[in-house]
């Protein structure tokens, strides 16, 4: 098995897990954002109001839905990291940025300015460049079993 074949095999296995983490993470963020919009700004909370703020936060159903999404993300991410390099996986998950912006606009009705869309597009371009490198820098196993 040569390096190229090993890399192709890893990429086929890697893509479904990346897709899963790329959907779960933004969904969690948007649900969390929705919950926190209802809770109110931490910036306006005085030390005396901190406990009610925490209480409002942890009783928000949106927070728990978000946590469920983050858990789904986390498990697929951990599985992914058993074979792929962190520096490959992490930027690949930045596609979440585009999905987050889209969901913020559609679900939360946030105003996303052209400059912000441009920035997000550039982030995705960076992700695309990283995604075209090999998933792992570890050498491919050889037929003789020697690394």
């Amino acid at each position: 098995m040569d390096d190229h074949h090993h890399s192709r095999r890893l990429q086929r296995k890697t893509i479904p897990f990346i897709l899963l983490s790329v959907v779960m993470m933004p969904l969690g963020n948007v649900l969390l954002g929705k919950g926190m919009k209802g809770v109110g700004s931490l910036q306006r909370v005085t030390p005396g109001d901190l406990l009610p703020f925490v209480e409002r936060t942890i009783t928000s159903p949106w927070l728990w839905l978000a946590i469920a999404c983050f858990l789904g993300f986390f498990v697929s991410y951990m599985l992914l990291l058993t074979w792929a390099d962190y520096s490959y996986v992490q930027p690949a998950s930045a596609f979440s940025n585009a999905i987050v912006a889209l969901l913020s606009y559609l679900v939360l009705h946030e105003v996303v300015s052209p400059k912000r869309w441009a920035g997000i597009a550039v982030i995705c371009l960076g992700v695309f460049i990283v995604g075209r490198s090999s998933p792992t820098s570890a050498p491919a196993p050889t037929a003789t079993g020697k690394a």
Binding site: L42, Y86, V112, K115, A118, L125, I129, S133, S137
Partner: protein, 124 residues
């Protein structure tokens, strides 16, 4: 000021946490069996590793800071801005995990930084 501190924890604690998790996962080795029972066994084994526990603690700190910062700023600003963790992540992968960062990956990460800068400008 409060936002700055929260963003610092979201980016630095979150990324260090992921690096710890990555280190733990590499010590487990490549997973080939994805049946639910095997995945649960894998999670159980992973949770016994000190690196996993350190990672979860740091990621929890990052998560609570994210909750705080999302109560202040918009989701479409917070999430792209926290893409700065790619820089922290690349440095950590290079120096803590000893991964090799190719020229192409560096170029990609630099492009991400340009995008984050644009998102930052969109705020003013």
């Amino acid at each position: 000021m409060l936002q700055g501190i929260l963003f610092f924890f979201v980016i630095v604690a979150g990324t260090l946490g992921e690096l710890c998790i990555s280190r733990a996962m590499k010590s487990i080795g490549e997973i080939h069996d994805f049946r639910p029972r095997s995945v649960l066994q894998f999670v159980g084994r992973a949770l016994q590793l000190p690196w996993t526990l350190a990672g979860i603690t740091l990621m929890a700190l990052g998560f609570f800071s994210l909750v705080g910062v999302l109560s202040i700023d918009e989701v479409s600003f917070v999430v792209p801005f926290s893409a700065l963790n790619y820089v922290v992540g690349a440095l950590g992968a290079r120096f803590l995990l000893r991964e090799r960062i190719s020229g192409r990956r560096l170029l990609g990460i630099a492009t991400v930084v340009v995008g984050v800068t644009l998102v930052w400008w969109s705020r003013h």
